[in-house]
């Protein structure tokens, strides 16, 4: 058995640790690239949302390297993601790949199937071993997400532009060469120290932007055209509403038990969106309000073309923009999104935010505060 799985930001680092600790062979799909997208687009229905296309690209690239089993998580609606696997199976079958799909769905009462699937994919029936590996994988995920947080802080302040991302790129390369929890932990630790040591320029003007939107799009850098690096280097300190660690905790531990996180976010969203509607639209709204209240300078929403929940959120965000007087930019990505136009829009937005910040400061001076 050679297991593969779709990419989603740094998730692969934790998944790699998890399976290595279990002694299961895995194929980490090649980094998402133009080829990945091309393959995915070629075989997927044209009108499906982008994450599915990239998934297909990942799968096929992994199969070419010998993968024979795919691990996917899922949901039971209301959004398309819940039926991704069914379509993906059909697609792979049609092009002649008879591959084993292991689906980790919320059990909806059927715990036996769920547990059996876990035994199957982990290649062991020893619950102690599974739990230990899971705990280690989860820990790594939180550590890697912490790296992101440090990068958010450092990017707009780094004296030499590009330093943060050179370091992270190096890290991504080395990740593929280390094995197991201990080695990974060490690598992450070292990277963290190096990141912290990056020299800052105290005179840089830094503005704060909250990144919201469809979870896969805002987490996977290839899909969002490296928005974090782009904004960071324009002088923006970011915070991102959704993280992989959170996603994993939700999917692995909470959803199967019918629980959910972040009561405060749900509360913030409530005046604008009363219930969950699928995807993470409620989080998009809740975080928008939270960032606005915390005095962020602007909001950037990114989602894949035709994403249903985010379209609902997009209809509501202009109200939040008005209510809290916080500028809002909506970016929609698909396989045709060009880097140039995208960057221009980001730049114009950042300029606007900087001007607003200056004007506010001038106003303060004039009014004698």
């Amino acid at each position: 058995m050679k297991v593969t799985f779709p990419h989603m930001g740094n998730q692969y680092i934790a998944t790699k640790v998890l399976f290595e600790e279990l002694g299961v062979d895995i194929i980490v799909p090649p980094v998402c690239s133009k080829e990945t997208l091309e393959i995915g687009t070629k075989y997927s229905p044209e009108s499906i949302c982008l994450p599915l296309k990239i998934n297909i690209g990942n799968f096929i690239e992994s199969i070419q390297q010998g993968a024979d089993t795919i691990l996917m998580s899922g949901s039971c609606g209301p959004c398309r993601f819940g039926y991704y696997t069914m379509l993906q199976k059909e697609i792979l079958q049609e092009i002649g790949h008879n591959i084993d799909f292991v689906l980790l769905d919320p059990p909806q009462g059927d715990y036996k199937t769920f547990v059996n699937r876990i035994f199957h994919i982990t290649n062991t029936k020893n619950p102690y071993k599974i739990i230990k590996a899971l705990a280690q994988g989860t820990k790594v995920l939180y550590q890697v997400d912490e790296l992101d947080d440090i990068a958010y802080y450092k990017r707009p302040r780094q004296r030499k532009i590009g330093e943060v991302d050179n370091l992270l790129e190096q890290f991504q390369k080395e990740v593929r060469n280390v094995k197991g929890y201990k080695e990974m932990k060490q690598l992450v630790g070292e990277t963290k120290e190096k990141l912290m040591a990056i020299e800052e320029d105290p005179n840089k003007e830094v503005i704060k932007v909250g990144l919201i939107g469809e979870i896969y799009t805002i987490i996977e850098p290839f899909v969002n055209l490296n928005v974090e690096k782009k904004l960071g280097e324009m002088g923006v300190e970011l915070d991102r509403s959704l993280k992989v660690s959170r996603w994993l905790t939700e999917h692995l531990y909470l959803h199967p038990l019918g629980l959910s996180m972040e009561k405060d976010i749900i509360k913030e969203a409530k005046p604008y969106m009363k219930t969950m509607i699928g995807g993470h639209a409620r989080e998009t709204i809740g975080y928008a309000v939270k960032y606005a209240k915390e005095g962020y300078d602007g909001l950037v929403q990114i989602y894949p073309f035709t994403c249903m929940p985010e379209i609902v959120a997009q209809s509501i965000l202009p109200t939040i923009e008005k209510d809290f007087d916080i500028p809002y930019l909506c970016l929609i990505v698909d396989e045709l999104t060009g880097d140039a136009g995208y960057s221009t829009r980001l730049e114009a937005f950042v300029d606007l935010l900087k001007r607003r910040r200056e004007m506010k400061e001038d106003a303060k001076l004039l009014s004698g505060y």
Binding site: P45, S47, G77, G82, D105, M273, T275, T306, S315
Partner: protein, 329 residues
């Protein structure tokens, strides 16, 4: 003074309007239904909706605008789920919110949540909540609801006999030919897509003008469709999807149709999955001629006509060829 409640002629309208119309009329409210979709209404809807939304949602907003200055309430329920473990669409879940934040100066919305995803036990509580906009008298509400259910059952019954609620008006029964020239085509799509004359480019009338006998899923026994859908490896959690995929499996196994047409809304997330699976199972696995028509506000009628014509011609050719083949191959 009687309370005026506006019902927009869009989205769930074609599935449920006799239910809600009867319900509120029995309670003594006056029901005003928005005008059938027209150019002006569509334009207003498009202007007041985010570009990325699907056409049916834009049309729905047009209907809300059509009503907003002439009623006390607009009926925009938050339809999360009508069957256990199922949903309709994320946009249905967030519809009242979308409407509220897209259109200025609205009267209050009747935006009660309908959610039977977990169970139907609280159905009467939901009904009271709907009724409470007009009266607080539970006995009256209960009575009105049972009348409403009756109207709803009758309506569904008529549709299952092949009467279609085009723009909300039930047509008379289709003429069913019984000679070998008869062409029977399965027609799939959201009800608000098929029955809205403007939103569907009048496809039903066009097909009937070609002498086609139309088969919609509602004309197949629903129990059979549900049985077929239950054989899916993973439960289909969209109610419309369950119906459409059940139909696909049924057609593949009992194909007495000459073709299938799937009318899809551009940008519809549900159609992107259901339409694709439907095509795989009917065209590829079932060898049934298949046509996908995707419609948005820029779709030209001429293009649709051409594609329909070509499709019908193709079916005619196929039938003729079949006739020439010896009965025992």
């Amino acid at each position: 003074m009687t309370i005026k409640i506006g019902i927009p002629r869009g989205l769930w309208f074609y599935d449920y309007y006799p239910l809600w119309k009867t319900f509120y009329e029995e309670l003594g409210a006056e029901i005003i239904i928005s005008n059938p979709t027209n150019k002006n209404l569509l334009d207003k809807g498009v202007k007041n909706t985010v570009d990325e939304a699907c056409l049916p949602v834009k049309i729905f907003n047009g209907h809300v605008i059509d009503l907003k200055d002439r009623v006390d309430y607009i009926f925009v329920p938050k339809m999360m789920s009508v069957y256990k473990d199922e949903y309709i669409c994320p946009k249905f879940c967030g519809l009242p919110e979308m409407v509220e934040h897209s259109i200025p100066n609205l009267p209050p919305l009747i935006d009660t949540e309908i959610n039977f995803n977990q169970s139907r036990k609280h159905i009467m509580k939901t009904v009271y909540e709907f009724g409470s906009y007009v009266t607080k008298n539970p006995i009256k509400i209960r009575k009105a609801y049972s009348k409403a259910l009756q109207a709803y059952e009758e309506y569904k019954d008529k549709i299952s006999q092949g009467r279609f609620p085009i723009d909300g008006e039930l047509t008379s029964k289709q003429l069913m030919l019984n000679n070998k020239n008869k062409k029977k085509i399965a027609l799939l799509g959201h009800t608000y897509q098929l029955y809205d004359r403007m939103g569907s480019m009048d496809i039903m009338k066009k097909l009937q003008d070609y002498g086609v006998e139309i088969l919609i899923p509602e004309m197949i026994n629903m129990d059979v469709i549900n049985e077929k859908a239950a054989t899916l490896e993973k439960k289909m959690f969209w109610s419309y999807g369950r119906k459409a995929l059940g139909t696909a499996i049924y057609l593949k196994e009992n194909s007495d149709i000459d073709g299938a047409i799937y009318v899809s809304a551009f940008g519809c997330g549900i159609d992107s999955i259901i339409g694709d699976l439907f095509e795989r199972w009917t065209r590829k696995d079932g060898d049934i001629p298949f046509l996908l028509l995707t419609i948005d506000e820029h779709t030209g009628e001429a293009g649709v006509n051409t594609r329909l014509e070509a499709f019908i011609d193709m079916i005619d050719w196929r039938k003729r060829d079949e006739g020439n083949l010896p009965a025992h191959g």
